[in-house]
């Protein structure tokens, strides 16, 4: 089959590789009908995530038709049309049973690597370095899905691929970002980053009862998409984020702040950006936490800072004094997709949201390298790329 493989910084290639096979009893093989490039794939593309190996197949957002099942997959059969969750979860362990699927204890064979970096290991993830298991990803014609009974959701034929594909990651991730904010009636939620995940956080915050959502970015097309979702917007290249937020909230600050940016943030202040970029280059910090610092400083007293943007290592100048003295709560995590996707599928079926609104580019799998470049450079107002094998 053909698959999009990683070969180094800014180097991905679509190549011929062996077809996947059933290896464990709860595996299924999925013939992929649609797959996407995630913002977090760009962290791999930019070389910020360690333990990648040349030839690794990328991609953790995919769906398709089950063409083979292992003997212990009881609730799925050949022919089922399914979306696959990006975390690989056993469903049996302490964390899975508590609904914390992205923290599964049994799905990461390379847990020891993650323990060296993080102290403890998170779950396995498709196509996302060897630290998260070394599983082949879904930017391919076929994929092997371990624990397929837990890691797939059946989707009705009445919904198109583009409407349900993002149940794999970015819709539940954006939703979890909003859900962690514990939104109360009358709340104002600020969202840093209007990429695809930020867009879903904006819409989810409204679905969960927020009164106002304020979206922060610098690309006009992304801010326009946020506006289309009823958010107010701040372009951080044109106005001070802190001052604008204080003006909009009467000096109190947003009740909750969502960081949908992560480790490769940019900021309006050239000096602060340069400071973090240099520290990153000399390895004094691995991640640039510009959005996170701003979110903490702006959040109202006693508010929630919800972090769904991906971080990989260490940050510098964390405003702990502000965080502690003002009684903030921080909630974080890779999304527990399987906890949310049933409910979100129902919302799609009821017509409350059509996730396909984020798609700006549709390409063939063979064009994946071009898709990565376009997405990375935000060329042609690119927000989300969907690939068809």
């Amino acid at each position: 089959m053909r698959a999009n493989c990683w070969y180094g910084k800014h180097d991905v290639r679509v190549e011929q590789v062996p077809d996947p096979k059933i290896l464990n009893r709860r595996d299924a093989i999925v013939k992929i009908s649609a797959t996407a490039i995630c913002g977090s794939d760009l962290h791999l593309f930019n070389g910020f995530i360690p333990t990648m190996k040349k030839g690794d197949i990328l991609g953790h957002e995919f769906m398709g038709e089950i063409v083979e099942t292992g003997p212990d997959v009881k609730n799925r059969k050949v022919g089922d049309r399914v979306v696959v969750s990006f975390p690989i979860s056993c469903g049996n362990c302490f964390f899975c049973k508590k609904g914390m699927f992205s923290l599964c204890e049994n799905s990461n064979p390379n847990a020891w690597m993650a323990e060296k970096m993080f102290g403890h290991a998170p779950a396995g993830i498709y196509g996302y370095s060897h630290l998260t298991g070394g599983y082949a990803g879904g930017q391919a014609e076929y994929a092997r899905v371990p624990f397929a009974d837990v890691g797939t959701i059946k989707v009705p034929s009445g919904l198109s691929d583009e409407q349900v594909l993002f149940l794999s990651d970015i819709f539940p991730t954006g939703y979890m970002g909003a859900e962690m904010c514990n939104i109360q009636p009358g709340d104002t939620v600020a969202v840093w980053g209007c990429g695809p995940v930020g867009q879903f956080s904006i819409r989810s915050a409204f679905l969960l009862g927020a009164e106002r959502v304020i979206a922060i970015d610098r690309f006009p097309e992304r801010l326009n998409m946020a506006k289309a979702g009823n958010a107010e917007t701040i372009n951080y290249e044109e106005a001070s984020v802190y001052d604008s937020l204080m003006e909009k909230t009467g000096g109190r600050g947003p009740d909750a702040c969502i960081d949908a940016v992560g480790l490769e943030a940019h900021g309006a202040h050239a000096i602060i950006y340069a400071y973090d970029r240099v520290k990153q280059a000399v390895m004094a910090e691995t991640d640039r936490p510009i959005a996170l610092r701003e979110a903490i400083m702006a959040c109202r007293n006693g508010g929630v800072v919800s972090v769904i943007g991906v971080y990989g290592g260490f940050i510098d100048k964390f405003p702990m004094g502000s965080f502690m003295n003002r009684g903030l709560t921080m909630r974080t995590g890779q999304c527990h997709v399987q906890r949310y996707w049933g409910e979100l599928l129902q919302r799609i079926e009821r017509g409350e949201i059509d996730p396909s609104f984020v798609i700006t580019h549709r390409m063939q799998l063979g064009e994946a390298p071009k898709g990565f470049d376009t997405f990375l450079n935000k060329e042609d107002e690119c927000i989300k790329v969907v690939l068809r094998p």
Binding site: K21, F94, N106, P109, G133, R144
Partner: protein, 357 residues
């Protein structure tokens, strides 16, 4: 802080000979007239150096390759070496007052670096001037590492180690969501051990408390021994030890305690063996994940998967071994490779079923 001695007070269940070794080691530490503090400072410095270099190798492998005159295709290897450097550095700080083993692991790392640089010299694409400069630097650091490690492992360390045998005892714990009874029964079926103990090829019960073990050594060499159960308290504790004439002297124990709040059991495994090859292989062991701590940790993790999920999860990258150096690209396995990976799981499963029948 010495974690292992702390643990020893918690467990009364460890074999007597371990306890003796341990006591000797403590006495050695308390009676020693102070250790060489310059060696300690040097160790700290080397520790920070390891961590700094490790991060540079991990996150800026291209820059490191350029400075050292290596080809840019070597960045993957450089990142692995970065992980190794960080591990050595962290180990130096974790090992407390006398991080001799961690510094020896640096010496072994230096040997790997020098070997890699030597190979690089043969490549037409490498920059020879830069390579020579890098090699000179590594040689200088190696000298420092050897001096430091020798100081740290001099008199007190040896007397602390009792008879001077290079013995290593390591224990690890993991919480498993099953009752101590179930876990005890599963572990007591010794013929199932190869299912979750890397390196073990087979264990055959030869009668009573005795069994015959076959393992694959680090260099692919087959080693065999007979072992006996020396302690067996149902649902609580099992200890075993190799008999006279074993290729590699070794012993181990497993302990099961109920975890609080119906969360299953805390399982503790201790593995103790005397690796052939003395101090060098001892120093190399953590790098190739052959040190007893790693073996215990991975045995526990696989045991947990078997008990909670029914089998060991296979990924493409870690199809039959999850070492950093033996990691495959995350691509589907070819047909023969897939069969090999499945057999690792199924033959053990079949063997265990046959043994039970």
């Amino acid at each position: 802080m010495d974690m292992s001695t702390q643990g020893a007070q918690e467990f009364d269940t460890i074999q007597p000979d371990h306890r003796i070794q341990r006591r000797r080691r403590e006495e050695g530490e308390h009676n020693g007239n102070g250790y060489n503090s310059s060696a300690q400072r040097l160790a700290r410095g080397l520790g920070w150096f390891s961590i700094g270099l490790g991060f540079a190798e991990l996150f800026a492998p291209k820059a490191v390759a350029r400075i050292a005159g290596l080809k840019s295709e070597d960045t993957g290897l450089i990142q692995l070496y970065g992980l190794r450097e960080i591990a050595s550095g962290v180990a130096i700080f974790m090992q407390g007052d006398r991080p001799a083993e961690a510094v020896w692991s640096r010496v072994a790392g230096d040997a790997m670096d020098l070997a890699s640089l030597g190979v690089a010299f043969t490549s037409p694409e490498s920059n020879k001037a830069r390579l020579s400069f890098a090699t000179a630097n590594v040689v200088a650091v190696t000298a420092l590492d050897v001096i430091c490690a020798k100081e740290l492992s001099s008199d007190e360390f040896c007397s602390a180690n009792g008879d001077g045998r290079s013995e290593s005892v390591s224990r690890r714990s993991l919480i498993i969501d099953r009752s101590p009874e179930e876990l005890y029964q599963a572990w007591h079926d010794f013929e199932r051990l190869p299912q979750f103990m890397r390196r073990l090829e087979s264990v055959r019960v030869t009668g009573g408390n005795r069994s015959h073990w076959v393992a694959i050594g680090p260099a692919g060499k087959k080693v065999e021994w007979d072992a006996e159960i020396v302690e067996d308290r149902p649902n609580e504790h099992i200890a075993w030890r190799s008999l006279e004439g074993a290729d590699v002297y070794n012993s181990g124990f497993v302990n099961f305690r109920k975890a609080p709040g119906d969360r299953g059991a805390i399982v503790t495994v201790g593995i103790d063996y005397d690796p052939p090859g003395g101090v060098i292989s001892r120093a190399l062991a953590p790098l190739v994940r052959e040190d007893p701590g790693q073996l215990a940790q991975e045995a526990l993790r696989r045991f947990k998967q078997i008990m909670e999920v029914g089998e060991v999860a296979i990924s493409d990258g870690a199809a039959w071994d999850n070492g950093m150096l033996t990691q495959r690209p995350a691509q589907p396995l070819a047909d023969d490779e897939a069969n090999q990976a499945r057999n690792l799981n199924q033959s053990n499963r079949g063997r265990a079923a046959a043994a039970r029948a």
